[in-house]
Symmetry: C2
Subunit: 186 residues, 2 copies
DNA sequence: CCCTCCATACCAACCGGTCTGTTTTTAAAT
DNA sequence: ATTTAAAAACAGACCGGTTGGTATGGAGGG
């Protein structure tokens, strides 16, 4: 794997763990075993450019992974539960959730950097669209689809936040149980 | 108002806007028009002690405010919609939501400082309990109450995050429309 | 020879925090 | 009521360390 991709991968993980401001350049350099010159060769505009590259990479990883899940399950409900189950397994194993959430980035940088905010916006939109497509396939109306997909995006994101706060995967488990009720209520 | 309370108020707002690491001590000092000596007189353990004081203050403000709303409305549904409406008004006016969310703090500091994480946990628990009490009063069963109140906490928190990301209050509006469906599905 | 890639020394700015000294307030003693 | 001592509150210089970022130079392959 080439250096640039390795930097992005490692930095992505670090940013997700500790937030943008929580990670220093030196920490990234050490984790990647590279020098400052190398980093600034691949990312001439510095840390923020790296962050945006990480967000794009993360966005693609999430999208492809979710699409794979949503292809392999017959209904929105089944796919969603499988996806949440994966998040739970990952949390119980690693004590954190990488490769899905970027709330920390948004809340830190959303008001400071438009490019960063846009990248996060794009990711949320993609996620919600995956829900929407499956809901449409399930036969829901356009309006209902918009409502449910947004509710799913928001509640799962919120549940992840609650898991990190409460140091347990219970919130995600509970959401996974509640979402079917929402789907059946339409 | 005494100096210490003023520091807490101003710092709380700054922390919510820019996150913990995004605000420097000097910025706080300038905003409060005080000196470093004064700050360290009131908070001998420095920045983190100040943050925790802010979280406690915020927790109390949220709790009392929500309890007031939930007393003045007959049902969970009405109270929740009124509360979300307030959030929307505030967002459309100020472009941000202060006095409710602390996701930024959790995602930055949750894994670094146990006291901070505990303070945030306490706040989430309090919020959820306000929902729960009203739901019980509405006649929901204990189990159902736990599910719904968690769903409400998570989805509203997530919706706030989406509002900040997308720079529109639409997500909160949508959640406000969807939540009644959830309540009626039990 | 040039261009990609990397390494390192260096920089000003800022970080949170400490220290010392001064002002202001409080309260007890006369 | 006045004096006085102690304590609370505040001001600002100073500190080591770190931050993100730059400039320069070298290695290596086409």
């Amino acid at each position: 794997m080439d250096t640039k991709s390795r930097i992005i991968d490692i930095a992505t993980s670090l940013f997700q763990k500790k937030g943008y401001l929580g990670v220093g350049l030196n920490e990234i350099l050490k984790a990647c075993n590279i020098s400052k010159g190398s980093l600034y060769h691949h990312f001439p505009n510095g840390k923020e450019e790296l962050l945006i590259a990480c967000l794009h990479s993360l966005n693609e990883a999430i999208t492809t992974h979710m699409e794979e899940i949503f292809q392999n399950y017959p209904s929105t409900q089944a796919a969603t539960q499988a996806m949440i189950e994966e998040l739970i397994v990952q949390y119980d194993r690693d004590g954190m959730i990488t490769g899905y959430t970027f709330s920390s980035i948004v809340s830190e940088m959303g008001s400071l950097s438009e490019p960063v905010r846009n990248a996060c916006d794009q990711s949320f939109t993609n996620i919600q669209e995956i829900y929407s497509n499956k809901l449409i396939a399930d036969g829901f109306s356009k309006e209902t689809t918009d409502s449910i997909s947004l509710m799913m995006t928001a509640s799962i994101e919120g549940a992840i936040m609650l898991c990190l706060t409460k140091k347990t995967s219970d919130p995600l488990k509970m959401i996974s149980q509640v979402l079917p009720n929402l789907l059946n209520s339409y």
